[in-house]
């Protein structure tokens, strides 16, 4: 579902004091960034995770082009490859695996499973990425403002965070889906059932219920950064608020933000799948990992390959992103131990 408390808040975030400060680091020979990179490279598991994530991203980026050039074909029917007398199961072993269809074909329609999961990956990652970026941007901006300003600004943002977190997010997401998607269809191009409004609704709601968590974490980090000398100096020099927020404080937060990012991504990839199960999100024939999984979920006995493939792919990317996040955190924060 949406990000659970345990997902984000259990993460021991890197102490911003361990984060680099550009000017000083030049004198110190190896910069903390390079030190962190070095630590990260030595961590084999994290490197494997990094490679897997990179492959997924590459796949996601390439899919639209492959579809355009006809290498992947996620929507064409091949009903001649299915057998109507068995309820449309693929003809042949292991879900109709062949050279043309390396992961077999979908029951009843004969659509190519590899094309569907590959292209579906693009949509799943796009949703997760957009939602993550939105949640982080809003969360970070409000977190910085709240943490730095204090007083009534902090209190107001704090209440807004509390109010948002008090709403049962899954229930709201379901209950508001018809009006929400209608709204999206009104502002965005596309009809009620087109991918864009449906995807946008999921992105919007994930971000809506995701930013408070980010804001809380960032606020906490800002509280400790705020007391540091360079911030005092900037204030004394009469720097504008905006400058302080984004030029002085933000650069010191990139490490926790990066970690939050790598840990929010997988949560949202899972969320997309879970929402598809509840029939919210991008609808077929446009594939996403979630809706392909939803259509395969009942084939555990009839077509195991079809049943297992989408769930397995989701599992791999979620695990990899999490390991990557862990690795980054460890690398960025020399105090933790492996």
């Amino acid at each position: 579902m949406t990000v659970q408390a345990s997902n984000l808040e259990s993460e021991q975030l890197p102490d911003p004091s361990g984060a680099p400060e550009g000017d000083v680091s030049k004198l110190a020979g190896k910069s903390p960034t390079r030190l962190a990179l070095g630590r990260f490279r030595r961590d084999k598991l994290s490197m494997v995770a990094f490679v897997v994530v990179a492959l997924y991203i590459l796949a996601a980026l390439s899919a639209p082009f492959l579809v355009k050039f006809g290498v992947l074909d996620p929507t064409s029917f091949n009903q001649e490859l299915t057998d109507p007398s068995t309820g449309g199961l693929p003809i042949g072993k292991l879900g109709g695996i062949s050279w043309e269809h390396p992961l077999g074909v979908e029951p009843q329609t004969g659509r190519d499973v590899l094309s569907r999961v590959w292209y579906g990956l693009t949509f799943s990652l796009a949703i997760a990425l957009t939602a993550t970026i939105l949640a982080i941007v809003f969360g970070a901006v409000l977190g910085i403002i709240a943490g730095f300003s204090g007083g009534w600004v902090d209190a107001t943002i704090g209440r807004a965070i509390d109010l948002t977190l008090s709403f049962p997010s899954t229930l709201m997401l379901l209950a508001l889906s018809s009006i929400g998607i209608q709204l999206m269809a009104d502002i965005l191009p596309g009809t009620f059932s087109d991918p864009l409004p449906n995807g946008a609704y999921v992105v919007f709601v994930l971000a809506l219920f995701g930013w408070p968590g980010v804001a809380r974490i960032i606020r906490g980090q800002v509280l400790s950064v705020r007391e540091r000398e360079f911030v005092d100096a900037a204030v004394l020099l009469g720097a504008s608020r905006r400058r302080i927020y984004f030029k002085e404080i933000l650069p010191n937060l990139w490490a926790p933000i990066l970690v939050v990012f790598t840990l929010t991504m997988p949560a949202y990839i899972s969320a997309e799948a879970a929402l598809s199960y509840l029939n919210v999100g991008i609808k077929p024939p446009t594939p996403t990992l979630g809706n392909v999984l939803r259509s395969s979920i009942n084939y555990s006995s009839a077509d195991f390959i079809f049943f297992f493939t989408p769930a397995f792919l989701i599992m791999i990317i979620v695990v990899s992103f999490n390991l990557l996040g862990d690795g980054l955190r460890d690398a960025l924060d020399p105090k933790t131990h492996r």
């Binding site: 509390d162 979920i297 555990s300 989701i314």
Partner: protein
């Protein structure tokens, strides 16, 4: 301290009122006509109009909302039409304060619905919390003690993999294979203590609780592990070990106590979230808890039930936050509330 609690509760009530208004306005804008659903097949426009009036949906949203708030304070009588109540007193359903509304779809007051569903959700949630807390902390400590070994890696990876499979996939997998195909356990049907005794009750909770626990356990494993590792470098732990205390004793006496504060926070928040977040698990296993109630209310456009649930679950979250803050003060003497 009391003043603090009173203040927090006051803010909580204000927040709930705000939530109820937001929910009302949002649902009122929904394109779905609840009267059409109630009116059924062969419903002429005249009939639908009459149904809408009978359900009170013809009134302005602000009137509906104040009626709702009045019902919470004073209780309410249904049907809404005073003429009908006067003409046929045998039709009247009294909904005592705090009245959350009347579900036309289920022919029941929302209070009754919640009263039936709440024990189910509470049972599943408690069982799940116990499972994931026990295994999460145990495995987390084991991983920390053997850090860097294959045991450590194995535990962390296994927990992560279980978390990374979508929860409906895990739930359906357990149901189809463990319960039905391999018949290792009975097909889970919720059994109350009155019906099946403590044993029957517990065994009926097993699969849903395991499904939920898998989702949350990974976070607890990793948090416990990180905390134990970190605390091993703390001065007081080093001192204790230097004193010659055995590792186990150090772990239990010093490390775990320090880990208690963040654990309590997490459990409090996760638990409150779980009451509304078990929609998928309860739907997969068909347990008529709050999550299933919410899911069904959504598919039948049962607005009163949805609004009642939003407020109830919001109350849980707000209360959990207050309780967690209170517990801080008790567990950690450094924290003072007020």
């Amino acid at each position: 301290m009391y003043a603090y609690v009173v203040r927090r509760l006051f803010v909580g009530v204000i927040m709930l009122i705000a939530m109820s208004l937001v929910t009302f306005v949002l649902f009122f804008a929904s394109p779905i006509d609840p009267a059409r659903y109630a009116c059924g097949k062969n419903c002429s426009p005249e009939l639908r109009e009459q149904t809408r009036n009978a359900l009170g949906y013809d009134k302005p949203v602000i009137v509906q909302w104040t009626d709702f708030l009045k019902g919470i304070v004073q209780g309410r009588d249904y049907p809404d039409d005073p003429e009908l109540r006067a003409a046929a007193p045998e039709l009247v359903t009294h909904c005592p304060a705090p009245c959350f509304g009347y579900s036309v779809v289920n022919t029941k007051t929302v209070n009754e619905e919640i009263k039936e569903a709440f024990p189910v959700s509470l049972s599943i949630s408690v069982a799940a919390v116990v499972l994931w807390l026990f295994f999460g902390v145990l495995l987390g400590v084991m991983a920390a003690i053997r850090r860097g070994t294959i045991v450590d890696r194995g535990i962390v990876a296994a927990a992560l993999v279980l978390y990374a499979f979508p929860s409906f996939f895990i739930g359906l997998f357990l149901l189809k294979f463990i319960a039905i195909k391999w018949e290792l356990v009975d097909v889970p049907v919720y059994t109350t203590i009155a019906e099946g005794g403590i044993g029957g009750w517990l065994s009926s909770l097993l699969l849903p609780a395991v499904t939920l626990a898998m989702l949350y356990m990974a976070g607890y494993v990793r948090m416990t592990r990180a905390f134990v590792l970190e605390s091993m470098t703390e001065d007081y732990v080093r001192t204790a070990r230097a004193k010659g205390l055995r590792q186990n004793k150090v772990l239990v006496k010093h490390t775990m106590r320090a880990a208690l504060t963040p654990l309590v926070t997490l459990i409090g928040l996760d638990f409150a979230g779980l009451m509304g977040g078990a929609i998928i698990t309860e739907t997969v296993f068909n347990y008529n808890g709050l999550g299933k109630l919410a899911y069904d209310a959504n598919t039948t456009n049962d607005l009163p039930t949805i609004i009642g649930l939003v407020l109830l679950l919001g109350t849980f979250v707000i209360l959990a936050n207050i309780i967690v803050d209170m517990l801080y003060a008790v567990i950690d003497p450094r924290v003072r509330v007020g």
